[in-house]
Structures are given as C-alpha cells and as structure tokens.
C-alpha cells in the first residue's frame, strides 16, 4: 500500500484520467448552454479568429468573383430564358399572398408557421476533425440568436444552433452522423398534397440525406421538393431542404425511406442565415 502511493507518476496518471473522464461526462450530459467561463473563452477565441477568417474569406470572394465573371456570358443566356417564367410566377405569388393575408385577417390568425425573422452571419471557423460537423459563426445572443434555431446556408437548410455565446455561436450541420438530437421534421411537396417524414441520417458516400418514416401509400416521385414542416416545434415551415433522389422501402419494410439531395452545399458555406421562428416554439 505504502509503496503504491509512493509512485508519484501513477497517482498523477490516475487523477488525470479521473479528471478527464469527469470532464467528458460533464460536457456530454450537460444539456443546453455551456458554463459561463466556456462561453466567455469561446467568445474571445472567436473574436481573435476573425482576424484570420476575414482576410481568408475576402481572398476566396475575389477568386469567386473572377470565376463568376468568366461564366457570366453563359449564365446570362440561361437566366434570360428563365426570366419570362419568373415574371409570371411573381405576379401569381403576389395575388396569392394578398388572398392569403385577407383570409388570415378574417380568421384572426396572427403568427403562422411560415412566419420567421432572419439574422445574417458569416462563418469564422469549422471543426477541423469533422467527426462532429460544426461551424462557428460570428453572431451570438447579443444579435438575438438562441438555441435550436434553424440555420440556412447557400440555398437550403444546413443545421441548427447548438451553443450560443454572446457574440458567437456553433451550428451543428444536418450531416452529423449522430442524429438523435438533431432530427428535422420535414414534408415532401407532391402533386397530391404533402407527405410527412423525418430527416434522420446522412449518407456520406453519396452526399444524400435520409428521410424516413414515410407512409407506404405515399406517392412521392424523384425531383419532388422537400421542405421543413415546422411540426417539430423548432423550425418554421417551408425552409427548403432539398429534392427527392431515390425512394425505397426501409429495412423493416414498414415504412418508406427517401434519399434527398440537399439544396445547400454543406462543404462550401461561408455565409449563413439564422431563422427565428415567429410563432411560439413547442417547448
């Protein structure tokens, strides 16, 4: 016994193992926000990180705009052909919106699931070992960001806020393999109405999201749009997620499963929009 305790190295090793395991357990089980010291340090780190991310983003932007300039001619041609259609849709949308507002007034609806406010932010860092796909953005609780808000990037839904500090926050991407906490309730817009399902996984090899728990007699087809349904209580409805790529029966044979090509490019996100749901969350 006496000899055992005289071995200083062993004691130090033992204590550090206990401390480390304690820390891991503390941070995994600790729900919600990090302790104030952690938030404070994260904020300072994020602030310093901007010194590097701002010029890096700037350089990438310049390269992008040069590339954009080269493609302009081709792009212009294809855009022109789409213009006529767009005017038509715009006019239709305006009249529909008016109708909708009038009807809402009559029904005395104030906030519907489609209403939201948005906050714009820039990405200042990404978790290098992407076991957990997380981005660090330069907007925090001072700008109105709260836990679990939906985040859009590029053209579609990319994830949700998992940690908020005063001037920075962390976004967990929907591509993170561990989806017990980050499931998204989604709906597929088909010709015969909407079909509900839950985004619950990601297939890295083909870069597709998996939408499951779809009823078997649903009539989806490839190319149908998938949007958030807002029924999960966290996100507003009708945020674009992607388009259906493949439909099949799930492994139990009880429900359908659809593979979705995400609308946002998850690997090229430099600016994000944080979505604040207008109607009260279901918590």
């Amino acid at each position: 016994m006496n000899q055992f305790f005289s071995n200083k190295k062993l004691i130090i090793l033992l204590i550090s193992v206990i401390v480390v395991l304690g820390l891991v357990a503390f941070s995994i089980t600790g729900s919600g926000n990090a302790p104030i010291i952690q938030r404070f340090t994260n904020d300072i780190t994020a602030l310093t990180s901007r010194v590097f991310s701002k010029p890096a983003n700037g350089v990438v932007n310049i390269i992008d705009s040069v590339e954009g300039l080269i493609d302009t001619y081709e792009e212009n041609k294809s855009l022109k052909s789409k213009m006529d259609q767009l005017y038509e849709t715009e006019a239709k949308l305006a009249s529909l919106q008016q109708d909708n507002e009038k009807m809402q007034e009559q029904l005395e609806l104030t906030d519907t699931l489609t209403d939201y406010n948005s906050i714009n932010g820039a990405v200042i860092g990404r978790n290098p070992d992407n076991w957990v796909d997380q981005l660090i953005i330069d907007r925090g609780s001072q700008n109105g960001v709260e836990m679990n808000m939906s985040v859009m990037g590029g053209n579609g839904y990319i994830g949700r806020i998992v940690e908020v500090s005063p001037t920075s926050s962390k976004v967990q991407l929907v591509t993170t393999s561990h989806q017990n906490t980050g499931r998204v309730s989604a709906q597929v817009l088909t010709e015969n109405g909407v079909v509900h399902g839950i985004i619950s996984g990601y297939e890295a090899e083909t870069n597709r999201l998996i939408l499951n728990q779809i009823i078997t007699d649903a009539t989806l087809k490839e190319g149908d749009q998938v949007v958030t349904s807002g029924l999960g209580g966290l996100s507003p409805s009708s945020l674009l997620i992607g388009t259906v790529d493949e439909i099949k029966l799930d492994s139990h044979g009880l429900a359908m499963e659809a593979y979705i090509t995400p609308a946002a490019d998850m690997n090229d996100i430099r600016f994000v929009t944080i979505i604040q749901r207008a109607s009260g969350s279901g918590e």
Binding site: L23, S27, Q38, F52, V60, N127, W131, K170, E205, R270
Partner: protein, 173 residues
Amino acid sequence: MLKKTRINIFVPLTLFIALLLDGVIASVFSAQMYTATSDMVPRLIIVCTIIFAFYIDRSYMILFGILLGLLYDSYYVGILGIYTSLLPAMIYLSDKLKKILNPNLLVLIMITILQLSLTEFLLYGFYMVIDLATIDVTTFLANRLGPTLLLNTLLLVVLYYPLKKLADAITRD
C-alpha cells in the same frame, strides 16, 4: 526571469494561432478537403506541438498543452477532455523520444506520422464509443488517416525551419 517569461509568450501564441488556423483552413477549403472519398484534417496545432516539444522544457509544454487542449475542445466541439488529454500525452511521448533520438527533419517526420496516427486512432475510438463515428476501420484507414497524414507531413516540412528558429531563439536565452 522576466526576460524568460516574456519570450515564452511566443510558444503559446504560436500554438494559439495554429489552433485558429486549423479552423479557418477547415472552413475555407472544406470543399477540397472533405470529400466523399477523403477527409484531410489540418492538424497544425499537433504539428507545432510536436516540434516545440523537442526543443522546449517539458513542464512548460505540458502546461500549454493542457490549456490549449481545453481551448480546442471548448471552441470546436464542446466536449471537454479529448484534446486536453491528447496534447499533454503527445508532449510526454515526444519528451521520452527526444532522449534517444536526435531531432532532425527526417526523425521529426517519422515521429509526427507515428503520433498523428496514434491521435487519429484514439479520436476514432473515442467518437466510436460516444456513437458519433459510424465508419468502419477500413474506411477510416483509407479515407481519413492516409490523406490526413499526407497533408500534415507537408505542413510539417513547411513549418519545420521557422519553428525551429523560434525554438532556438527561445532556448538560447
């Protein structure tokens, strides 16, 4: 004493910048580095730690290792304790190795490859346990470990001489 502490600021500062650059590189070049078939993870902080561990006093380095490990965990993932234990462990290992090996670029490259593989395996094991890593070992070796080692060996070759100069300047006083 005063002079020593003032110069030693450069070590944590370099490590801190390496930590930040890891995140910035990962976000700016994510389209090129994280593809379906290969994940290149920039590990500037580990490369810098290994180089410094060969030239600078162990007790200092372990302290910086713990502090920066905590910062890394807190800033990037939010699960404290992973890098907090990995960085000091690597410094300890480097310290043991430096007594039997003569530090030059070739030896450092080999040690970096060894330690990085060890780190990646430990991380993979850890994330496996907490259910965040779903890939199997073969995929891990081919898609992740290989490209990561390649990228970081290149980084080491680029960073070796400037960091060695810095370490020499610090130890000379």
